[in-house]
Amino acid sequence: MRDQTWLPAFSLWQREMVRFVRQRSRVTGSLLTPVLFWLLFGAGYGGSFRPAGSPESSSFEYFLPGTVVLIVLFTAIFANISIIEDRREGFLQGVLVAPVSRLAIVMGKVLGGATLAILQALLFLGVAVATRSAFSGGGPGLAGALEAAAALILLSMGITALGFVFAWRVDSVQAFHGVMNLLLMPMWALSGALFPAAGAATPIRILMAINPTTYGLAMLRHGLGRDATGGPTPALAAAVTVGFAVLAVTAAVLVASKRRKTA
């Protein structure tokens, strides 16, 4: 039996990379927009913002992990919009009639999203360090860096797969905007990216506690040595982040495996 998963998944992943490089607008959308947000929030809040229970000395530092998560989120959104475009332009139908497992289609997309997210996050962190906007008191050790990288990859896989579940079933980019604005953006805003859970009102704290992004961001903060008090413990953050990625990928495979009964 021929390999129906990893060679096709590799090929689909490779295609994601090539397309990203050939579509300059995606670099602008998924990297520059979060960086702009970071500069606006960081400079805008300036000294007037003292995050409750956070060790960060400046708002630039507080918003840094959240900006990385925003890069992850935007990359996932673009990756999913391309599913809708592939369906409309006809490319996807060729993949669907090929002897390719549905896991391959999901993994090509999800690993593509994760790779792009981590490369852009590294670029962003590199710029932040070079401009002395972050880690002025020293960077994370090797273990911390690995934990942060794992958080990024898992969170990115989870969010891309979650977007996939919706993008697979809609036939227009407009319809996906609803998913983006009502689900994905709030997931980011209520993850501790903008404000810590410690000082928030109870309903918001509950929403933050059931939001998987909260745990991904907490894991990332822990890896970067920037824990916020009132957040989940490092072990819980890691466990939930792994669980979210596994569940979301499974859901995406199930959605993609369902054969249609109508056109």
């Binding site: 129906q4 590799f10 006809g90 060729g94 009639v97 009964k261 109508t262």
Partner: protein
């Protein structure tokens, strides 16, 4: 067993609408068969079922001996599909598209590279191999699309209205490529079309109307069945003219698609008395050898164009 495609009692409903009804047909290795029918006749439904993206409501279909419902992975390996809209990635080059396609079918390395090269040459795409698909003309993109569909040497190639948007020269070019692919690899081609001239040059024609298979045979055999000649008259009032002809000449005269239509052995000799009898009411008269349009009319009981209700 030589059958590459076999369907038995295949049917499909969209809600209460029967899109496909009791379709049974067999395609042998190396045949080029047209699936002819008006838009909305069930061609796309049949193709969706055969290409494993949709389950049929009733009946069975096997491709290269594999059941489309129970063994979709084996069916997909034996099947190539060319869709109405090319399924190429426009941001990739022609060669990149072919290599990607090879990976999807489990091909890799030097074997794949060689096969891609052979395919590029066979389809006359060597010069454009490094160009982005978005820079190709419609005809060239279609060629690249077909090359992609047959790269893994499928037993059966399904083509859903592949000549959409192509000019007549590119259309002929496409058919020649299919014939060559058939000659070299024995690939069976099943080609959905609503163009008679495209169906006429195929080995056999399957005619699908309102979901039912109304004819299956070689174009010449089907046309022979109609026989004689077809006389068509245009008139301001075709119904009245048909009635007058039936009364005066005691012969069958029907109205189809706004024209009075008669199938006669002696079509040409009939013209003079007809024109003499109704000089004011006949605007134009034609006599022609029957074609697939007449086969459709006879088998489906209506003119082809009326079916365009997709």
């Amino acid at each position: 067993m030589n059958a590459v495609l076999e369907t038995r009692g295949l049917g499909h409903d969209y809600g209460s609408r029967k899109a496909l009804d009791d379709v049974s047909l067999t395609l042998a290795a190396g045949e080029i068969v047209a699936l002819l029918g008006p838009n909305g006749g069930g061609k796309s439904t049949l193709f969706r079922i055969l290409s494993t993206v949709m389950d049929a409501s009733r009946g069975e279909a096997t491709i290269a001996g594999h059941d489309v419902r129970r063994a979709p992975a084996d069916v997909r390996q034996a099947l190539g599909v060319t869709f109405q809209a090319p399924s190429l990635d426009r941001k990739l080059t022609v060669r990149e598209n072919l290599i990607h396609q090879g990976h999807l079918y489990g091909l890799r390395g030097p074997d794949l590279a060689k096969r891609v090269q052979v395919m590029l040459e066979a389809f006359g795409l060597t010069d454009r191999a490094g160009d982005y698909v978005e820079t190709l003309s419609g005809g060239l993109a279609r060629r690249a699309d077909v090359a992609k569909s047959v790269l893994h040497r499928p037993r059966l190639l399904l083509l859903d209205e592949p000549s959409t948007g192509l000019d007549p020269a590119a259309r002929r070019d496409l058919l020649r490529l299919l014939q060559r692919t058939r000659d070299e690899s024995g690939t069976t081609c099943f080609l959905a079309t609503h163009l008679f001239e495209e169906a006429e040059v195929c080995d056999r024609v399957a005619i699908l109307d309102r979901g039912r298979l109304v004819a299956l045979g070689s174009p010449t055999a089907l046309v022979r069945e109609v026989g004689g000649e077809v006389v068509k008259l245009t008139s301001d009032d075709p119904e009245a003219l048909a009635a007058a002809i039936r009364e005066r000449f005691a012969m069958e005269a029907l109205v189809a698609d706004g024209e009075v239509r008669m199938e006669r052995e002696d079509g040409a000799t009939l013209l003079t008395p007809l024109l003499a009898a109704f000089p004011e009411r006949i605007l134009s008269a034609t006599v022609a050898r029957p074609g697939l349009a007449d086969v459709f009319f006879r088998r489906a009981g209506r003119a082809f164009e009326e079916g365009s209700d997709a």
